[in-house]
């Protein structure tokens, strides 16, 4: 049963950081500076594939104001991989990046760095560094990169094929023989950027003992410490990563360690001054992006609408380096492509290929948006061709609450309400009144489409599997308030508010009595990155455990002072009472005061001794693994209008239904859905990074050329339906939300376009050109 007598959880409380952000937002990492700070800049290669023969920095070093210049020979040549959900030295991850390398593999890769007294001098110094390159042949198309004779991007990696993962269950060929119908199609997704608004920025301060303190916009505090230590060959205790109160967006990108963090630390060590780097927007655009994928999907279907066999192959361009490619393709395959729908026979084959493109990275959904576009588009094709209702069809082939996990039957799907998502969403959208495909008249045609993401997202895979325990510290103050500290980074979702709500609820305090107190890696317990739709669930659990610990300590002191049994006490809205006799009450503030008081207190009856048992700060601490990483379930319905004269598509309305276990803060939850839709519309219709085919230079490196949706492109109607299925392992029943909001929009929009004009587009983005071409008008 979902607890209903909650005071804080489930309430539309106002975000604490919003008050600061509307008057300036001084806590953003971009505002951080230290006295005597120098400014760093990177020189970047104009070539996509080259060997550096010689670098002459002498002219740059002579420029007044330049304090240090670094080239590959000045930095540790320790290969690393910025992925964050395994320790840096783990077996099984490919380490092929260097802070500065004498081999360039993408246009824009840093080859040298400068620290100077001003940004302008640093930029001027870059112009004075002479680099002699030996140009090498480059390849940008992953299919070309696999051919015999293609340029070798990494020594010894034959045909540039980094990995060829695969899995199978049953006998897929036999499954196809059993099928009454077979559907086959190829679905392509493009390279898109997260477009966080605050640039990447960091300030490193290395002391004379070699200890590095770093302030950064990164979304993973402990990952930054660990990765920094690894690439510099230092013990982790030589690095302190300081938590910013909030960061201006990430959407996955900023959980990766970047060149700037290592370079600022090295330049700081060399100059003995703090060194700051701030990316230009061009640098942000070429830092990392979603991996483009090409998915071939073959599906066998019985007349009754059940699957007999599902086969898929995925080609993933992992770019110049193994940054996430070998990992994202697995999450994509298992939890995006294959396991969401039941089939007795399945097979998947993946290919991860190096090219001379800019690095791939994490982006909200982590491989699932690429998968969902294929799977959900094809289901729409199947339903259209065979006359199935897309909702009934999905319900027939998706799991049920209580189903065992395919990896381990002991793990059960505890809470799962996809059926409610589908049915309630359909009802709200008016699905039953949906017009027949292609029946709209006039030049502007409307259509309705839907897509689901039945099971598992990113790290929400039904079991705790990744490097992601969480911790929290709660400290009570003498005024009856509490500080909460957690190493998770609030990248904009409002998680700090959500975590404070969880703490307040557990402690029995009012929401505004709990405040987030930032810390650093020296004084906080480990927490995983802000990724994988995990913070409410995993950090939320840790916060609840720490709050329960603090509450236990609070009530033990209260019991002594109130001469009552701990078991008889309860705390609500800042007051501790004896159950059943509300007159026997004491405020939390008075109990904390008593615990922090001197050994003699002066009361109404004069001086009285206190006991040692009562003494000390009342606090709670936790460090726990997430219990199950429960799965959300999602369905989205959209209505579009397609202008068949111009090819323009306008999304008119979206209804998004999500089983998130429990809504902790409705406003924050709606914000995730609304923002996810903006990114989803961009992915579906507008966004694509473009590169010069000869030089590999990024052509969409500012917001004038990279088009993301503005307020004009967004529908005025975005409706959220939150299903509270009450996950038993989640804090107050909560599961997760963030990523699915961006997984379902693209296929839902593609399916709505098909409903409007009867044309199926299998590659994103669905531009006016593609629509007009498909309509035979180009």
């Amino acid at each position: 049963m979902l607890m209903t007598n909650l005071n804080v959880v489930g309430k539309r409380v106002l975000r604490q950081d919003a008050y600061e952000k509307v008057v300036g937002g001084k806590g953003f990492p971009v505002n951080f500076s230290l006295p005597g700070m120098l400014h760093g800049k990177m020189l970047r290669s104009p070539y996509p594939h080259a060997r550096i023969l010689r670098i002459d920095t002498s002219r740059a070093e002579q420029l007044p104001g330049v304090k240090a210049v670094m080239t590959p020979k000045d930095v540790p040549q320790i290969p690393f991989n910025p992925i964050f959900f395994m320790p840096a030295g783990s077996m099984g991850i490919h380490r092929d990046m260097l802070i500065l390398s004498d081999t360039v593999r993408f246009a824009g890769q840093p080859v040298a760095a400068v620290a100077a007294t001003t940004v302008a001098i640093a930029e001027q110094a870059l112009q004075l560094i002479d680099v002699e390159y030996e140009e090498l042949l480059a390849v940008f198309d992953p299919e070309e990169a696999m051919k015999e004779g293609a340029p070798e991007i990494h020594v010894g990696v034959k045909n540039n094929i980094r990995d060829t993962p695969s899995f199978s269950a049953g006998d897929v060929e036999a499954g196809f023989k059993d099928a009454d119908y077979i559907f086959e199609g190829t679905y392509e997704t493009q390279r898109v950027h997260t477009c966080y608004m605050e640039p990447r920025v960091c300030v490193s301060d290395t002391d004379s003992n070699g200890h590095i303190t770093i302030y950064s916009s990164i979304g993973h505090l402990f990952g930054l410490r660990e990765r920094m230590a690894y690439v510099l060959g230092l013990p982790v205790s030589k690095v302190t990563a300081v938590q910013a109160p909030y960061v201006g967006g990430s959407f996955g990108s900023k959980i990766d360690f970047a060149y700037i963090e290592a370079l600022s630390a090295l330049l700081s060590a060399k100059t003995r001054k703090p060194v700051r780097f701030e990316h230009t927007r061009y640098e942000d655009f070429i830092c990392n992006a979603r991996h483009p994928m090409k998915v071939h999907l073959k599906t066998g279907i019985k007349k009754d609408g059940t699957f007999t066999a599902r086969y898929a192959s995925t080609l993933c361009d992992t770019s110049a380096y193994s940054t996430h490619g070998p990992e994202v393709i697995l999450v994509h395959a298992y939890f995006g492509l294959m396991l969401g729908y039941r089939s007795p026979h399945m097979k998947w084959e993946g290919t991860v290929v190096f090219t001379n493109n800019m690095p791939g990275g994490a982006f909200r959904g982590y491989g699932a948006p690429q998968a969902a576009f294929a799977v959900e588009s094809q289901i729409d094709e199947i339903c259209d061709k065979l006359g199935f209702d897309p909702i009934e069809f999905r319900l027939k082939n998706t799991p049920r609450q209580g189903d065992p996990h395919p990896f381990n039957p002991e793990w059960k799907l505890n809470s799962y309400a996809l059926d409610e998502c589908l049915n309630k969403g359909a009802e709200r959208m008016g699905w039953s009144q949906r017009a027949k495909t292609g029946s709209a008249s006039g030049a502007k045609k409307r259509g309705i489409g839907m897509a689901a993401h039945p099971l598992w997202v990113s790290g929400c895979v039904g079991f705790p599997d990744i490097y992601e325990h969480s911790g929290a510290i709660i400290r009570l103050n003498v005024d009856g308030t509490a500080y909460l500290s957690s190493a998770t980074m609030d990248i904009g979702s409002g998680q700090n508010t959500t975590l404070c709500q969880i703490a307040a609820e557990e402690l029995g305090l009012a929401f505004d009595s709990v405040r987030m107190a930032p810390g650093n890696t020296d004084n906080l317990p480990f927490d995983a990155p802000t990724h994988a739709s995990r913070v409410t669930y995993s950090s939320g659990n840790a916060v609840k455990v720490a709050a329960a610990d603090a509450k236990k300590n609070l009530l033990e002191v209260a019991a002594t002072v109130m001469e009552a049994n701990v078991a008889d006490l309860e705390v609500r809205d800042g007051m501790i009472t004896v159950k059943g006799s509300p007159a026997q009450a004491m405020s939390v503030a008075d109990v904390v005061k008593r615990a922090e008081s001197p050994f003699m207190v002066i009361g109404a009856q004069g001086p009285a001794p206190t006991t040692l048992k009562e003494k000390g700060t009342i606090m709670g601490i936790s460090s726990v693994a997430p219990p199950a990483n429960a799965s959300p379930a999602v369905a989205e319905f959209v209505e579009v209008e397609v202008d068949t004269e111009t090819g323009q598509v306008k999304v008119l309305r979206a209804v998004y239904a999500h089983d998130l276990g429990r809504v902790v803060n409705p406003a924050a939850a709606e914000g995730q859905v609304e923002g996810g839709l903006q990114q989803g519309i961009g992915f579906a219709l507008m966004e694509k990074m473009l590169f010069d085919p000869e030089t590999g230079a990024c052509l969409t490196s500012d917001f004038l050329d990279y088009k993301m949706p503005t307020a004009v492109e967004m529908p005025s109607k975005i409706e959220c339906i939150f299903i509270e299925s009450n996950e038993p392992t989640g804090p107050f029943g909560a599961k997760s939300l963030a990523e699915a909001c961006l997984i379902v929009p693209a296929p839902a929009i593609a399916n709505a376009i098909y409903n409007a004009i009867g044309v199926r587009i299998r590659s994103l983005p669905i531009t006016p050109e593609k629509i007009l071409a498909a309509l035979g008008k180009l």
Binding site: A18, G24, G25, G248, G675
Partner: protein
């Protein structure tokens, strides 16, 4: 070669030496410590740096500080009175229009201009009015709602 200029910002006069190519944004942030205007792209593409110059919302990254002399500059720090938030700031907080918050100050400055020019804009006018300010978190939904609420109040 730096030049000594005088800028009037939020009612205060500042005498500062600036390079001829210094943008208003860099002078506000780096010389005057007015960090509400944000550097998002430095190329007139995102609107995070929006401030008012003589009553007009401008991208401060696209204006030289030199050319802002003699004009009245208002930044987010100049909104509100006596410790109270401006009504638009207040509705942004209350409507949940702030997520990561990096676009927020620029968005509020644009919204102020919009409401000054048209105190009762319809939704179409609001959406087109803020189309020069990008946000990646909110889908603009609660921002539009906040501006509507501010107009109604």
């Amino acid at each position: 070669m730096k030049q000594l200029i005088s800028l009037e910002v939020n009612g205060d006069t500042h005498e500062i030496a600036v390079e001829a190519d210094a943008t208003l944004l860099s002078v506000l942030r780096d010389n005057l410590g007015l960090i509400g205007a944000k550097r998002g792209c430095d190329s007139g593409g995102c609107g995070c740096c929006t401030v008012h110059v003589d009553g007009k919302a401008v991208y401060s990254c696209m204006m030289y500080a030199l050319s802002a002399q003699g004009q009245e500059i208002v930044t987010i720090e100049g909104l509100g009175t006596e410790g109270k938030l401006d009504p638009v700031q207040d509705t942004f907080v209350k409507e949940g229009a702030v997520q990561c918050g990096y676009c927020t100050c620029g968005m509020i400055m644009t919204a102020k201009q919009l409401l000054h020019d048209d105190p009762h804009p319809d939704e179409h006018a609001i959406r087109h009015g803020i189309a020069g300010n990008l946000c990646r978190c909110t889908g603009y939904h609660k921002i539009v709602e906040a501006i509507k609420t501010a107009a109604d109040n």
